[in-house]
Symmetry: C2
Amino acid sequence: MPNNTLPMPATQATTLPPTPHLMIPGPTPLPESVRLAMGRPGIGHRSPEFGQVLERVYPALQTVFGTTQPVFVFTASGTAAMEAAMVNTLNRGDAVLVLVCGVFSGRWATMATKLGMAVDTITVPPGEANTLTSLQHALANKPNHYKAVVLTHSETSTGVLNDIEPMLAAISGYGALSMVDAVTSMGATPFPVDTWGADLVMSGSQKGFMMPPGLSFLSVSQNAWAAYERCDYPGLYFDFGAYKKAQDAFSTPYTPATHLYMALDEALQIMLTEGMPNVWARHRGLRNTIRQGATQLGLELLVSDDHHASDAVTSIKAPTHMDVPTIRAGLKNTHGIVVANGQKELKDTIIRIGHLGYQTQREATMVLSALQQVLTP
Amino acid sequence: MPNNTLPMPATQATTLPPTPHLMIPGPTPLPESVRLAMGRPGIGHRSPEFGQVLERVYPALQTVFGTTQPVFVFTASGTAAMEAAMVNTLNRGDAVLVLVCGVFSGRWATMATKLGMAVDTITVPPGEANTLTSLQHALANKPNHYKAVVLTHSETSTGVLNDIEPMLAAISGYGALSMVDAVTSMGATPFPVDTWGADLVMSGSQKGFMMPPGLSFLSVSQNAWAAYERCDYPGLYFDFGAYKKAQDAFSTPYTPATHLYMALDEALQIMLTEGMPNVWARHRGLRNTIRQGATQLGLELLVSDDHHASDAVTSIKAPTHMDVPTIRAGLKNTHGIVVANGQKELKDTIIRIGHLGYQTQREATMVLSALQQVLTP
């Protein structure tokens, strides 16, 4: 039973349904200026006007990533950016270690195997974080064996935040390339790519960047570039060389999704105006409010440990008296708030509240109040 | 010197610059409803609301392509769709014949070579069309040799329309797969994919579909599917199997560019409401008006033969008294009309007027009047 610490009036029936508010772990709500940028007239992708968009976007992405290395922009999803990282730096047969802690990190193991890599995995149960000790153990067991180690910063399917800074140091010391899924962490959680020494870091537009899906981002270190030069990848669309050459000239190698770039330009300006330390603090505050509120409502968090709790998405276990579909339907139909369920074995066990991108404390308290009303019999 | 058949008042200087109107061969201008769809709020890509978009979009694309086979939608450019066609149906070392008649068909030869195929090309000078005779000759010379033949319907860099119907019959009779670049022809020129027996046909969103770039389309015949099942392509993001499975369930395998799909939904409704025969007739009318008008202005067309002139883009040679940059600057700065120059060896030789997508007779006469004024000393 919910533990009501505040008296809460019962919801009155209304006939005007509210505009849906997304609190899934991406896509996120969109700021007005981002939506207006999406609705602009057609623009030539080789025009000076579009070149000016690229001149702003490329360095702003480097600021968010905390890197002086190039951050490539692909017209494609985050899955494509991870595939691009692998095919541009690894050859068939190369040994890869994948740290698995959920659906998305599991996908990277599947992908590496399909691409012909020799894949080892270290898997923890969903809701738990990968550990430095098990990584160190695996690396020590097979010296000079792995060409790359794949990590997930914030696992979108569980809301686990892996403590990747010491892991990146271990991988770097071992001499392997690090490939980091920062899809839901970049722009929500501090991840200074150069300082932490990460080689290939990927993210997606519909997450901390508070814009629609369709673009993905990939930072490429000098070590990763050296691996690219030894790699026999034959493809064109994701070829690093083509992106590097175009990016140096503030262009794109193939026809870009122009309107998504213009939306990205607006979103990056909003983020950098707020200031990245403030952006990160806002996400941490939203995480804390939602975790504390859920606990006060008598609910159990999937990730019990604050240190490993994502700043982007919080997984809450369904209580015994109400199942996941009923909670989601109540939130959506009565309150117009869309939250996610779990994936695979967690499908009917948890709800996932996304609090990344264009979200404020108002939305955090809104979803908690709505959740309280839905849970009250 | 222009041959003025109508008296034309001199342009008066104005201080309010006109909104740029795109008459390049893609991206094209956007209808209002397409722009408004782009500016909608965020939407979950696994929501029932987005599923309804896919339920409309997939069959409507089949109607435009004239096929009962699946038309896959990639969040990626047309280049990616061509790469997807090759990697999903061919193995390294397979022999491929590429008919080259310009920059884009040249790119397909480069791509096939980079992907490890054994590539032969038949190349005609830019502005000329590939011939059935040379294709038949090449096929007869090497029986049972080629696994695929790559054709271009409308070559964007020159404005040539290849007469592909008999070529497709020849390829089919030979037993090879046909791969057709229909980037600027689909939605502008009749191309009944099933009737003509084309195996892999690709197009892009920013062309006849009058929406922003970022999506590409690829129809896959049963023969192409059989080739896929014999192919050892290891990638994930462009894997036909994943798209087929998702499409059958009105879903997408990876996170789609939601707002581009919503724009596509609007654009397809506009196209099917106009009716495809009317859409094609409109493009043919625009082509005829611009070709006749240019000739009346005393200008020479790059493609002299009406039968091989694209319905999407018309290349006009610069007259001796004015160079390409001056013409383009005059059209853009005084009239707010953006046309393209040539590419590679045609860079400073031709202007290319795009008349595909959201264009009407009003725009055809507008660009001709503006051109007449620019050319008048």
